[in-house]
């Protein structure tokens, strides 16, 4: 589904990514791990075409280097960005429907009703401006918004950040449900023990390079190495 080989990226003159390699197979959940500032978000930006000078990114069988972010998104990537970035001056409902689409041509696509079922909180607040939502509510909204584009690949950059444990639990359940439905997902998160359970394959970034990769079993096995790269 998604393939990165030897990806480099820079902000202006300061290079951040040097050699990122990863692959998200169809229907699998893959994680990207690493400490703060190692380039996880930058990798996501490169995939989305938000940073110039990139090479070696393929999605759904096509080379997507040099395409504009909107073209890449229309190929079927749904992004839940770091820091949520909901549309502050739109209501909750408008946030959900504004960019809605059916990109995976799924008959059973996500609808407003299904999102509201997933996050009843959003239904309660449907007429409220997104800028006045609490942090957690905004997070739910961002996930809902990405799902409403019915993406082939969902990218979640720290999607459980700032959520109450109950909600976090719900989101994990929801991610597992998505996986069961065959959704491919690229996950960035810090809750290793959960990731081990829900994800299939893991990559670790260190200073802009992929330095480790393996499945969940390997992650447990190499605890030593992982600890060095990621922390507990």
């Amino acid at each position: 589904m998604l393939q990165l080989s030897h990806v480099e990226a820079a902000y202006g003159t300061s290079q951040v990514l040097f050699d990122v390699n990863l692959e998200v197979p169809q229907g699998k959940i893959v994680t990207l791990l690493g400490r703060n500032g190692m380039g996880k978000t930058t990798t996501v930006r490169s995939i989305m075409g938000q940073l110039p000078n990139k090479q070696g990114i393929r999605f759904d069988g096509a080379d997507i280097c040099g395409e504009t972010p909107d073209a890449i998104a229309r190929r079927g990537i749904g992004l839940v960005p770091e820091g949520r970035i909901v549309f502050p001056t739109l209501t909750v409902r408008e946030n959900l429907v504004a960019t809605a689409a059916n990109r995976s041509r799924n008959a059973q696509g996500w609808t407003l009703e299904r999102i509201y079922q997933l996050f009843p909180r959003l239904q309660e607040r449907h007429g409220q401006l997104a800028q006045t939502l609490s942090g957690g509510e905004q997070q739910m909204l961002a996930i809902g918004r990405a799902l409403m584009t019915n993406p082939k690949l969902l990218i979640l950059d720290e999607a459980t950040e700032g959520l109450a444990p109950v909600i976090r639990g719900e989101i994990w359940r929801c991610i597992e449900a998505l996986k069961a439905a065959g959704q491919s997902i690229l996950l960035i998160d810090k809750n290793l023990h959960v990731l081990k359970r829900v994800a299939d394959y893991h990559y670790i970034l260190e200073k802009g390079r992929t330095v480790w990769s393996g499945d969940s079993a390997a992650l447990t096995r190499d605890a030593e190495t992982v600890y060095r790269y990621v922390g507990l």
């Binding site: 989305m48 938000q50 504009t68 972010p69 909107d70 073209a71 998104a73 229309r74 749904g78 992004l79 960005p81 970035i85 909901v86 549309f87 502050p88 001056t89 739109l90 408008e94 946030n95 429907v97 504004a98 960019t99 689409a101 990109r103 401006l129 918004r145 990405a146 584009t149």
Partner: protein, 303 residues
């Protein structure tokens, strides 16, 4: 009856102001671009209409030409200049669009000369009708009111009810995010900018038969349009509409009645001068008062 007529005049003027402000709300209030060329687009609309009217004699063709001329000019400006400025701060937008004003004005002077153009009033609309006994009113002004109302309703629906409206509003604050969700925002913005320009053109074409069509006509009304948008609250079509009505009414009523009132308390010439001075300041005073009471304008939620 005079009071009634003056109120009607105020409403009429307000709606004419709204026609001008409508496009501005779209571009300034919603897309978040300080577009000083809005006045120039208004002028382009007026010129295009005037020239086609002179060539063909058809008011309808003239109107279409005004709309098309301004819209095309808007799209060209957007594609060549404004597009590069969305991400920049307001200051760069001010400077760039100011430069565009100079360019457009001078080009218009070179092409069409410095003399004001003649625009014929469509014969069907050139008479007056009696609304109430003692209240005769020019048909053309009634048409202006009608068109203004239509634009207000259409624009409000577009912005608040359609996905285009939502996306434009979303793009104003989170441009990158809108793109990342798969929307070709460049195209969207070009279209919306063109629509804003088209509305400016509409205002210009409609104003042609009642004011002087000449270079510089846009700047006179530009500031007033900004004032209206700010009074109503930036980003709100409803705000621009009521803001325009309020400004139109205040302006008209002050002009109509203030000198008379003042004359009752002071000498004639002093009253006239003061009255005229105060009514010139009227809209600005209104805006200052509104902003002091509601710092974000009348129709925007205060935080």
């Amino acid at each position: 009856m005079l009071v009634l007529e003056q109120i009607l005049n105020g409403i009429q003027f307000g709606i004419a102001l709204f026609l001008m402000s409508a496009g501005l709300t779209l571009i300034f209030g919603i897309m978040g671009v300080i577009n000083l060329t809005h006045g120039s687009l208004y002028m382009v609309g007026a010129y295009a209409a005037a020239i086609v009217a002179a060539k063909t004699g058809s008011a309808l063709l003239a109107l279409l030409a005004g709309l098309a001329g301004a819209a095309v000019a808007g799209v060209v400006i957007e594609a060549l200049v404004i597009r590069r400025l969305y991400a920049r701060d307001h200051l760069d937008q001010v400077l760039a669009t100011f430069a565009l004003i100079l360019i457009i004005n001078q080009t218009a002077t070179m092409l069409f000369g410095r003399q004001p153009l003649f625009v014929a009033m469509p014969p069907a609309l050139s008479h007056s009708v009696t609304l109430l006994p003692g209240l005769v009113y020019p048909v053309y002004r009634l048409v202006v009111i009608g068109v203004g109302l239509l634009v207000a309703i259409g624009l409000a629906l577009l912005i608040n009810r359609t996905r285009i409206g939502m996306l434009v509003r979303a793009g104003a604050t989170s441009r990158e995010m809108v793109r990342a969700l798969g929307v070709d925002i460049r195209l969207l913005y070009t279209v919306v900018f063109g629509l804003g320009a088209l509305l400016a053109g509409l205002a210009g074409a409609m104003a042609g038969p009642i004011i002087a069509v000449q270079v510089g006509m846009g700047e006179q009304i530009l500031i007033l349009a900004f004032v209206v948008v700010v009074i109503g609250g930036v980003g709100s079509v409803r705000g621009a509409f009521y803001g325009a009505l309020l400004a139109g009414l205040i302006d008209t009523l002050l002009r109509a009645f203030l000198p008379g009132l003042l004359r009752q308390v002071m000498t004639g010439s002093g009253a006239d001068a003061l009255g005229a001075g105060l009514s010139s300041m009227g809209v600005y005073l209104l805006m200052a008062i509104v902003l002091l009471l509601r710092p974000k304008g009348l129709f925007v939620k205060q935080s």
